[in-house]
């Protein structure tokens, strides 16, 4: 056994799978401890793009340092998009009386100079809707703010109206580390405003637990039924094979849906979902263990063990089980992987664990789909989840293939 373990860890496929799996496991265990939020905390109000958010008030209040860098060019570039330039040109031609040929969109300085000279919100703008007029007012304001090298005047409400608190020069900078109030959301926030990274890592942990439970239950049931039906034979075998066949022909996912649906949403804990998945996934393990045992049953060492007067449980545990053990380990790994996928499928349909207390990979996908994250371009709400599911199941399958090569040497190339 030790020897096989050693071989497994020198098998590249197994090793890569193992490392990937451990990586996911570690992230899911460590990140929730470091994160400032609980997975279900509503940090913001809706889909929020990934990034670091700092408090504007904090920035304004902090003492900056003057830098010899003119920030206006960068600001201008972010304000003046190509479509804005088109709009400015349009306005100037229609209402400012500037000839179309005089305007060069690529020359920012000349364009701004012309704009400041001609734009006047008081000019009658025939044919423009009010909203469009307001848009030009805002654009003008933005441009003024961006080009303003005098800086901002910060005021606070005083007894005689506004009182100047301080002036912030255009070239004043503040060190991000000095800003006290900061929110880091590496993967943004989902529709509830919850931090996706925290939610994702904690759902990986829950999904893994569900998969593990489902896999262990399915393997235990399958192993027991396979061992008994293969070794005992006769009517026991006939009955158990019949049972297995029934469970094989009924699509297990349908049973899964029916059972999950029969239990009310709030009563479904993650462990219960794992149990349900495990109870429907065992048939193929049972079938393959049975066929392995059938070929082992007639091996001479089993006959000799019988002749030595050993009891049935002892023969099964000592003379049969060790021979199927390697196979069962592989089956377990595959069952865990398919348990995780089954949970994701169930939760996608809204039949997963209770959504008010837990969060799983499937539930996250379910919400992302319900709140049209795809249409809204909020990729951070579902792409990381999908990738996580893919990496976990891929790593488990890779480990399985690796073990297969270790246990069946003829598969090695």
């Amino acid at each position: 056994m030790l020897h096989q373990l050693k071989q497994a860890f020198t098998n590249p496929k197994f090793l890569v799978g193992f490392v990937l799996f451990m990586l996911m496991l570690l992230i899911s265990l460590i990140y929730p401890l470091l994160s400032a939020f609980e997975p279900l905390d509503m940090v913001t109000t809706g889909f929020t793009a990934p990034g670091t958010y700092v408090s504007i008030a904090d920035v304004a209040n902090s003492d900056g340092i003057g830098m010899n860098v003119d920030a206006s060019a960068g600001r201008l570039a972010s304000v003046l998009k190509d479509e804005d330039r088109e709009k400015m040109k349009d306005w100037m031609v229609r209402f400012g009386g500037v000839a179309e040929g005089d305007i060069d969109l690529s020359d920012t300085e000349a364009l701004l100079e012309k704009w400041q000279a001609t734009y006047d919100p008081a000019v009658p703008q025939k044919g423009l809707r009010n909203a469009d007029k307001q848009a030009f007012v805002r654009l003008d304001k933005d441009i003024k703010a961006a080009t303003n090298s005098d800086g901002l005047i910060l005021a606070a409400k005083g007894e005689d109206g506004l009182e100047e608190v301080k002036t912030i020069a255009g070239n004043t900078y503040v060190r991000t580390g000095d800003v006290v109030s900061k929110i880091v959301m590496p993967l943004g926030a989902d529709n509830f405003g919850a931090d996706v990274m925290t939610k994702l890592t904690s759902s990986i942990a829950v999904s893994l637990r569900i998969g593990l439970l489902a896999g262990v239950i399915a393997t235990l049931i399958g192993l027991t039924i396979g061992l008994l039906s293969g070794f005992l034979g006769g009517w026991v075998d006939n009955f158990l094979t019949f049972l297995t066949n029934i469970f094989t022909v009924i699509p297990s996912f349908v049973i899964l849906i029916l059972i999950a649906n029969a239990i009310s949403g709030t009563a479904r804990s993650p462990m219960l979902v794992g149990l349900i998945i495990g109870l429907t996934a065992w048939p193929w393990t049972a079938r393959s263990v049975r066929s392995q045992v059938l070929s082992l049953r007639n091996r001479d060492h089993v006959s000799l063990s019988k002749l030595s007067g050993h009891s049935l449980p002892r023969i099964i545990l000592q003379d049969i089980l060790p021979y199927v053990a390697s196979y069962v380990v592989m089956a377990l790994i595959l069952q865990i992987s398919s348990g995780i996928l089954a949970e994701a499928q169930l939760s996608m349909l809204g039949l997963g664990p209770d959504t008010t207390t837990t969060v799983t990979l499937g539930i996250m996908m379910n919400w992302a789909q319900k709140f049209s994250a795809v249409l809204g371009g909020a990729w951070w709400a579902f792409v990381p989840v999908v990738i996580s599911v893919a990496i976990i199941t891929f790593s488990l399958n890779l480990m399985n293939t690796g073990l297969d090569q270790v246990f069946n040497p003829q598969l090695r190339d």
């Binding site: 091996r299 001479d300 006959s303 000799l304 002749l307 030595s308 007067g309 000592q318 003379d319």
Partner: protein, 272 residues
């Protein structure tokens, strides 16, 4: 070489084995009769598919007898309960063809031998006594216990494994031993060793040995009585000298003429 026959230990009357039913029904063994005596070496010779292994497994009690009665020590054999089976198996043991599949590869050699000691009522013996017994058993088959201890079966060669199987029989000391092609998977040189050991064991504990084999030369060399089997029935039975040197049944004659000879002429013209 001719030995005085002891009293009968195993007698079969109209033993029949049927596999399957309806269209797949096959009679593997058809109403065979036999009588094996204490200390006798018997060979059941037949080609593959003749039903010789089925007889062996029925005698061992690993499969049921469809019809007929098997008498053990003069009494009809009764293995209806687990306890009775255990009692019966104290008297009958087996060595199988393939040494590689005769061992549980996950158990150490010591486990196998200690298990045999426990089985024969040596459970309460001290460590030293057990060690003594294992050493004795190993040296009986020309193996050194010190070299085997803490080893797994797959670290041994096929011949060594088969010898260890004989050491197991040495410890169990059964009344009857069924040897199912014990030498067909080992080299000719190891074959002689294994046969010698089995015969020596027979002399030591007055055991009955039933050889199941396809090798008529081997049957002639080791056995007192020979049963020739064809299609599930015995076509000829009797002392080895009579059956093999002066065969009467046509099948036996053909079988013997098909085996290559070295002293006489091997007549190739009788074929095809």
């Amino acid at each position: 070489m001719a030995r005085e026959l002891g009293k009968s230990v195993l007698r079969g009357e109209n033993i029949t084995k049927v596999f399957g039913y309806g269209k797949t029904r096959t009679e593997a063994v058809k109403q065979v009769n036999f009588d094996f005596h204490e200390g006798e070496v018997i060979s059941i010779v037949g080609e593959s598919g003749s039903g010789k292994t089925t007889i062996a497994r029925m005698i061992l009690g690993l499969i049921t007898i469809t019809d007929g009665t098997l008498y053990f020590n003069g009494q009809p054999r009764d293995i209806s309960s687990g306890h009775k089976r255990k009692e019966y198996w104290k008297n009958i043991q087996a060595v199988f063809q393939d040494p590689f599949s005769s061992f549980n590869m996950f158990n150490k050699i010591d486990d196998l031998l200690i298990d045999c000691i426990n089985m024969t009522g040596g459970r309460h013996k001290s460590q030293e006594e057990k060690f003594e017994m294992m050493t004795e058993a190993c040296s009986f088959v020309n193996l050194k216990y010190a070299e085997l201890t803490n080893k797994y079966p797959f670290e041994l060669s096929g011949g060594q494994m088969q010898r260890l199987m004989i050491a197991r029989i040495f410890l169990l000391k059964p009344k009857i031993l069924i040897a199912d092609e014990p030498t067909s998977m080992v080299d000719a040189c190891s074959r002689a060793t294994i046969l010698d050991m089995l015969l020596k064991l027979r002399d030591e504990i007055d055991m009955t040995i039933i050889f199941i084999t396809h090798d008529i030369g081997l049957a002639y060399y080791v056995s007192d009585s020979v049963y020739i089997m064809e299609h599930g029935a015995f076509v000829e039975a009797g002392p080895a000298e009579d059956v093999i040197i002066h065969p009467k049944a046509a099948y036996t004659k053909r079988l013997i003429s098909d085996v290559p000879k070295i002293y006489g002429e091997w007549d190739l013209s009788t074929v095809g």
